[in-house]
Every structure is written in C-alpha cells, then in structure tokens.
Amino acid sequence: MAKDRLTEVLIRYEAVIGLEIHTEITAVNTKMFCGCPVAFGGEPNTRVCPVCLGMPGALPVPNEAAIEWTVIAGLATECDIALWSQFHRKQYFYPDMPKDYQISQYDLPFCSGGFVDIEVDGDGVAERADLGGALPFVGPEAVPEDGGYRARIGITRIHLEEDTGKMVHVGGSEGRIAGATHSLVDFNRAGTPLMELVSEPDIRTPEEARRFAQKLRSIWLALGVSDCSMEEGSMRVDANVSVRLRGATELGTKSEVKNMNSFKSLHDAIAYEIVRQADLLDAGGRVEQETRHWDAGAKRTSGLRSKEEAHDYRYFPEPDMVPFSFELAWIDALAEKLPELPDARRDRYIAEFGLPKHDAAALAAEHALACYFEEAVALTGADRARPVANWMLGDLAAHLNAAGIEIVASRVTAAMLAELVGLIEDGTISGKQAKEVFAEAASTGDAPGAIVEARGMKQVSDTSAIEAVVRSVIDAHPDEAASYRGGKVGLAGFFVGQVMREMRGQGNPAVVNEVVRRLLE
C-alpha cells in the first residue's frame, strides 16, 4: 500500500490499536504442566506424555520456573505483581487442544498495569498525522535531537497459559484448511509455557505497534525469557484495530488481525487494516467485528469466517491446582536481580563509550549484539568501542545478513573482531586491508592476526621506506610531477595510488599521503 494513502487516511481518522503478544517461555527446560522438554520442531508427537496429551486421569503440575519468568517479565515492564493468583480453565473444542480446555488465567493474572516507553523516529513519525508540527504536551513527548517522539504504551496484563499443539492440514493449498482432505495434529508444542501480554489500546499508528512489539522483544531477550522467534512462532503478535473520525469519542468496531510473521508484516497488516476500515466507513458501510488473517504474499487481510461466533469460554477456577500466594520479599528479590534493560544499556553505551544514539540503540536492542559488543570491547578496550560498533553495524551486519545467520553463529567471533580492530588501531594494517582480512576470517574462521601473518599484509608505516618508493615513483613520472608543481594538486591522488600499488597495498595511507605531498613540493 502506498504510504501517502495511509497518511491521508490518518489525517481524517484516528486509529486505535491494541496488541496481544504471545511469547513462549523458552528459558525453561520443561513444559508448563509436565516434564516434557521445551524445544522447537522434532518428529511429530515425540515430546509428549499423558499430561500434555490430556490422557484420562492425568493431572497438571505447575512449572514454578515459568511462573517466576512471568513475574520477571512483569517486573521488567513496570507491572504490579499479584500477591494472590490462580489459573482458570478456558473451554472450547479444537483438535489441537488435548483437553478441550486451555489452562490459562482469567481475572487474577500474575502481572497487570505496566507500561513500556517507545521512541519513534525517521519515516515512522509521519504516520502520526495529528502531531503535525506542534507536539502536544500530553501524550507523545518530543525527542527533539532526532525529530522523533516518545510515547508510553500501557500494559493491561501479562498472564501465563499453556500453548496448543499444531495442526497440519493435508491436501489443500499452502497447508491451509480450505480444500484439505484431512488434518494431522502434532502435540510437541502442546503445554509449552506461553505468556500472553495484552496492551492497552494506546497505540495510534502501525509504526508505534511495530516499535512496541520490537521493544518488548528486546526486553524479553535481555531477560532471557524467550528466544522470541516470530518465524518459529515463539513470539506471536495479534492486533486489535479500529478507526474513528478524529475528534470522535466513541470507539469504532474493531477487527482482530492475525498471522503476522515479522515486524514488517505487523506494520503492513495494521496499515492495510486501517485503510480498509476507513474506506468502508467512507463508503457509508460499517466494520464487522471479526478475526482477519494477514496474507503477506497478497499484502492484504481477509476474514476468517463470514460470521463471528460469540465464544463463551465458560472460564472457571482450575480445580487441579491450588491458588498461588507470593511473598513480597520474593518479588523484591526478583526485582533486585533484573538485568540491565535495553534503554538503560543504550544510555550507558552513549555515556560510557560515546557511541552515537542510533548505534547505541541498535546494539542495545538486540541482546546477542550487545553481548558480542561488550565482549569485544572488554578485549580491545573502551577507547576502541566506536570502531567495534562501526564494524558490527557495518561489515559484520552485512555479512550476517548476506549469509542469513544470527550473530551467535558468526565465524568471526567477538574476540576475532577485537583482534581485527586492534590491528587497525595500532597501525599494523590499513582499513582497506582490514576489509580483506575480515572477509577471509568470515569464510575460513581463521584469526585475523594469523591471516595478516600468512598473507604478509603488514602495513608499512616506516617513513624512510615509504620515502624511497615515493622518490622512485616521482622519478618515473616526471611529467606528472611537473604538472603538480605547476598547480594541478589533484594529481597527488595519482601518486598515492602508484605508491600503494608498488607497496602492494601495505603502505600506511596516512604516511604515504604525507610523504607524497612533502616530496612533490
């Protein structure tokens, strides 16, 4: 969809967006109510037992570590932690749900009433059509240095439940149920601890929704509660979207949009939905309350059912477990142990290492990047943090992106990058040479020092050696030397190039530059 179309709609309509974010707690070893391991994939129905298959007579026993992780997630997002809480049964029939009820939480979630602050900058700011040039005092707060703004998104609750199994529809197209001849169920995922976070409807643009989801992901990663893989489904984001004319006080009818497998899909699906609803209203129609499915290929949402059935989940307190009561001291101890969160880490990178805000934020947002960065800086020294950051966000990021791998799988380890930066900073190799060394290290996994040694790449900074080469080059090109001296100073680059070629790239560029100019004068 054209961006200006969204912006045009958002000038007339206000979008009201709330997210429901399901995150599997992959930090635990075992499922929510049984001893089966928590992992992704595997042969179907190999990580199952009587409990997570819902066999007759089997009983759930709560995984206390999963409850603790949920409380930690709540503490990291400024939630109130319940001193008294319990599970409820949410009842509906579906083949991927072994007991035909899901053990979830109802009126007593573990965490409630929190918030997360997001910052929007760059192109995303334009979506906030209401802000225009005048930033309101209430609500989004300007972050003047980069033209963006900051907004606080409320968190209604975070509760804990068990994940369902997975259906595989056979015989239809693309694994969809339509046209399928039969369906298979894999219960490996059934019973995996699942945190459900429900935001307040405080989100006003697709970009804010994306930033909020990204921020939560970076917090969850910093805590270590989940691997947060949207592709593997360990983090799943659904959006409730409605629109109303600007100035209206009543909320519009919302639709629930599902099946966004990336942050980009989340943004695009919400943007599509806003425009779709606005077009409906403009045409005098009305929005149906329904669940809609995002098709990333076709770039549109479609209704899952023609008529939304009103579900009565018949919640009631789970009688197979006694309610939980938590000591304040236990909660306080967990709060004490919270690790540094992304915002604090970003601010520290700026203060401690002098990183530009954008770089600091990029490194701090991704826990694995931050760990890599801090390890490399610890090895090579805080004064070299900026080149480490530049390499990480430049060549390393490009390499990982091209190779399609995560930083934890990088052949160039933090120690190797620290070594490489050291070789540059102490003048052993030039920046140009370093790029070659990096490329070789990335493909072979060899240490930068060894590569430099093996290829005889050591940079020559010795002035007298460079002077000898520069003299011979000037002698070999008398005409050009005369022109230079006659005022064509641009020819300096020609001489530098000739010298570097003679030295097979090993001359220290700064020294070569200086010597060329001095000897030509």
Binding site: G57, V61, F93, Y101, S183, R314
Partner: protein, 495 residues
C-alpha cells in the same frame, strides 16, 4: 471350591498366612478367581479380570517369601480396582462405551502404591458411567447386583468395588468418592468404606469427575484392613498438585485404643431431614449410645448449611465434570463416530454415541451452570454454599473429634426403583457435604434392616487429615457391635 475362603479372612490374615506358609499368594489369587467364577455371573462386580497381572504379582510375592524376604503389608492380598483407575495392561473403561477399548498408558499412583506393597490386581470393577450414579445402573455394561439381594442395587458409583469385597471375591478394593461413591455402596453392601481427606491420596490416574471433590479410598471387611490399605495409598505425589504433604502416620497402630475420651457429635439436624427412614435414624442414636457406653463424650451438633449440600454439589460436580469430560472428543482416543462430515460432526456424534444418558445430563447441567450470564447465579452461589458448609464443619470439629450421621437415608433399593434422577441424587444427601468440605469419613456396618434384612451403614466423619482418630473411632464401634456381616449368598456358598 478352593480350600481358602477369602470371605472368612481379613486382608491382614491373608498376608500373614502367606508369610507363615499356610498357603501361597498364587493360591490366594486362585481362590479369588474361583469365587468370581462361582458368583460373578450373578453379581457382575467385574468388567475385566486380569489374571496375568494377578498371578505375576502373586509369583513375585511367593518368590520373595522363598528368598526369605520380609513380606510387605498387603502381600498376596486379592484386590479389586474400580475401572476409572489406570493400570498398564488393563483397559480403563469408566463403565462407558466411550472408552470401551481404551488401554491404560500409565499407572494410577494409588493403584501403583497398592500393588507396590504386594496386593494382587484381580480385575477392574464395574461402576456407574464416569462415576455418575448411586446404583451402578448407569454402567454401559449392565449393573452390578447386591450380594445381599440380587434384586437390589449395590449402590454406586463404586458398586463393583463394594460388591466384590462383600461377596468375598477380593479382600479389599479401591473405589473413588466424589459425593459418596465409596461410602454409599459401602453402606448398602455391609462393607467398611473410607473416603480420605481431600489431598490425602493422589488423584493422578483416576479419571476425573469432580476434581475438587474426587478422592480414592479403600473398601474392606474390617476397619483394620481399610487402615492397612490407606497406609499403602496415602501420601504426597509429585504428579498431583492437590496432593498433600501432610505426613502419613500409621493408621493401624492406634486402632485398639478404644473410644474413651473421644468427643462424638451426632449431627441432629441432618438426622431430621425428610426421607430418612425411622430405622436408619434409630441406628444412629443406637450408635451414639454405643459410643457413650465405650466412654466417649457424646453430644449433639447441627450443620445448618449442609442441607444446601445437594444443591451445591449438583452445580459444582457437573460443572467440573463437564470440563473434565470435554477431552473425550473422538480425536485422540476413545469412541470415534464413523465417517464424520467435518470436525464438528466428529465431536457431536462421537460424544452422543459414546456417552450414556446420565453422563449427557451431567455435562449439560455443568455446561449450563458455567455459561455466561449464569455463572454467578449457579456456580458462584454454589461456591458460597460450599464455603458455609466448610465453616459449619470447622465449627463442629472445634467441639468434636468425630461426627455421626447415617451413610444413606435408606437401605439398598431395588433395580429401577428410583427412575427419576432427583430421588436417586437424594441417596447421597449425607455423604455429599463431606466431599464439599473435603473432610474424611468412613461408613461402617451398624446393623441389618429389620424388614428387608439389608445392611445399614453408619457414617463417621473426621477432621482434615484426622484419619487416625476417625479409624480409631470406627474400630471401637466395630468391636463393640461385634457385627461381621456376611451376605446370605456368600453364606450359602460356604456351607
């Protein structure tokens, strides 16, 4: 007929006889099967016999004795197991067509514990479908008959477990009790039948009916046997989050301490409930006199909220049951309808075909009670009544060690006599409040009805985890009455 007459021996005597070499565990198992062969065609206590498991267990006992090892407390004791408890190597049908071919894939903790101390798993006992009923007439496989009068019901839902002990087919058995399903058939068959405190025995592996009410417990022909079995099956279980870590004491050691000094309370207002037979009422007063004669301090107490027990139970029980039985959907196990058009059709027909009428009635009751707009009026109110019943019992146990009521308002009735569900439900009016409160209670035989000749049961109720005191009171009463009921059917077989 085998030389061993199980009906004449207690479980303890069976075990001790085997230890002394008077007969072998294999012979005990043979005696059980011989009696089943002779009587179970009429009684129909068993849905499935498991001789391979029983003889393997017997051989382990006999080998242990041959090796000179000390035998565990229930070594070689024939036991019946209600068919809602999982045991690998058996089907667990719950008396339902839904699970007609369902093979257990794991062991119920209480069953495992019983077998671990040497008991022999003779077979799986008949029951009302999914434990919904008080007569076993709701079994999909035909009713169990009362060994005292084959024209009469044995009670339920654990009717098969009660009948097999009453008929001397096994020395002990396990049942489950959600609203009286152990104690009521215990009373109707003249056996000793215990519902332990909620959490005393793990529920892992017993197919759930009302999760907040269910408890597994033993049947026996003596208080001592029931205490022995309770010792075996009690205790915390990591597989059941509602099992209690309250220490398991010896339930047999103090049985001979008598009733002197015990504070015994007759629950007077419950005795006066409409529908309680005069002879039943008189039997409780007689029991109180017996306790007084034994040196107990006897008094009276009212449990005013208990009259709401039946109503509360028929909300909470079905509510939990409707949820617990959702899993029988034809997808993973159990009955599946043929040629379903789609998944909804699969669900609806599998369940309609697999469940009997009383099961469907309870599921509908419970589903309705939990529905939006009705939850507060039904489930919410029922929980309030439950809280008041708990408070009543708590207050009563500040004054008394045990409480006395009838187990049932009348003796065993004839098949088909209670054709509408409500009159059937009334049979559990004395037992239900105990499940709602979570206390322990035992039914002990207190006499025979003068007109029908059928057994009458006395319900003795104990405080939370006070099984030791409860059983001590029951043992004192048992000894004082000297009543050792043998059904005529069994007597004729023995003569």
């Amino acid at each position: 007929m085998s030389v061993i007459d199980l009906s004449a021996l207690s479980a303890r005597q069976v075990r001790d006889s085997i230890a002394l070499g008077e007969f072998t565990a294999r012979e005990a198992a043979e005696a059980a099967y011989a009696r089943i062969e002779a009587l179970d065609g009429d009684v129909h206590a068993f849905l499935q016999l498991t001789p391979e498991l029983a003889f393997a267990a017997a051989d382990r006992v006999d080998m242990a004795r041959a090796a000179g090892n000390e035998l565990p407390p229930l070594a070689g004791v024939p036991a019946g197991i209600k068919d809602n408890m999982n045991l690998i190597g058996t089907r667990t049908t719950c008396g339902s067509r839904m699970l007609e071919n369902y093979e257990s894939v794991y062991d119920c903790t209480a069953v495992r514990r019983l077998l671990d101390v040497g008991a022999l798993p003779i077979g799986k006992c008949n029951m009302d479908e999914f434990a919904f009923g008080s007569s076993t007439e709701n079994s999909a496989y035909g009713p169990t008959h009362n060994p005292w009068d084959l024209e009469r019901v044995p009670g339920g839902s654990s009717g098969g477990s009660a009948a097999c002990v009453a008929a001397g087919m096994t020395s002990i058995s396990l049942g489950s009790d959600t609203g009286g399903s152990i104690r009521q058939p215990g009373a109707l068959t003249g056996t000793v039948a215990l519902k332990p405190t909620y959490g005393r025995v793990s529920r892992y592996g017993v197919v759930a009916f009302g999760s907040s009410l269910d408890q597994i417990g033993p049947f026996g022909t003596s208080v001592d046997d029931v205490a022995l079995a309770l010792e075996a099956i009690s205790g915390a279980d990591t597989m059941d989050a509602t099992s209690s870590s309250e220490p398991v004491g010896s339930y047999t050691d103090g049985l001979d301490q008598g009733a002197r000094g015990l504070r015994v309370g007759i629950v007077r207002d419950m005795l006066e409930l409409e529908g309680c037979g005069a002879e039943i009422r008189a039997s409780v007063d007689l029991a109180a006199e017996t306790f007084a004669a034994l040196g107990a301090e006897v008094g009276e107490v009212d449990l005013p909220a208990a009259r709401h027990g039946l109503a509360a139970y028929y909300i909470i029980g079905p509510a939990e049951a409707s949820s617990n039985l959702a899993r029988f959907d034809g997808i993973r196990y159990g009955h599946r309808a043929a040629d379903p058009a789609d998944v909804l059709d699969l669900y609806m027909r599998s369940r309609a075909e697999g469940f009997g009428p009383e099961t469907i009635r309870r599921i509908m009751l419970g589903t309705y009670a939990l529905s939006a707009g009705y939850y507060d009026a039904y489930y919410g109110q029922a929980q309030k009544a439950r809280t008041r019943i708990i408070e009543d019992f708590r207050a009563a146990f500040e004054r008394f060690d045990v409480l006395l009521t009838p187990t049932t308002p009348e003796v065993a009735f004839r098949f088909g006599e209670k054709s509408d569900p409500y009159t059937m439900y009334l049979n559990d009016v004395y037992t239900i409040p105990v499940n709602l409160a979570g206390n322990c209670a035992v039914s002990v035989p207190s006499g025979l009805c003068s007109t029908s000749g059928m057994p009458i049961g006395l319900q003795i109720i104990g405080d939370y985890f006070a099984e030791a005191i409860l059983l001590r009171a029951a043992a004192a009463f048992e000894e004082a009455t000297g009543f050792d009921p043998i059904p005529p059917l069994v007597g004729s077989l023995n003569s």
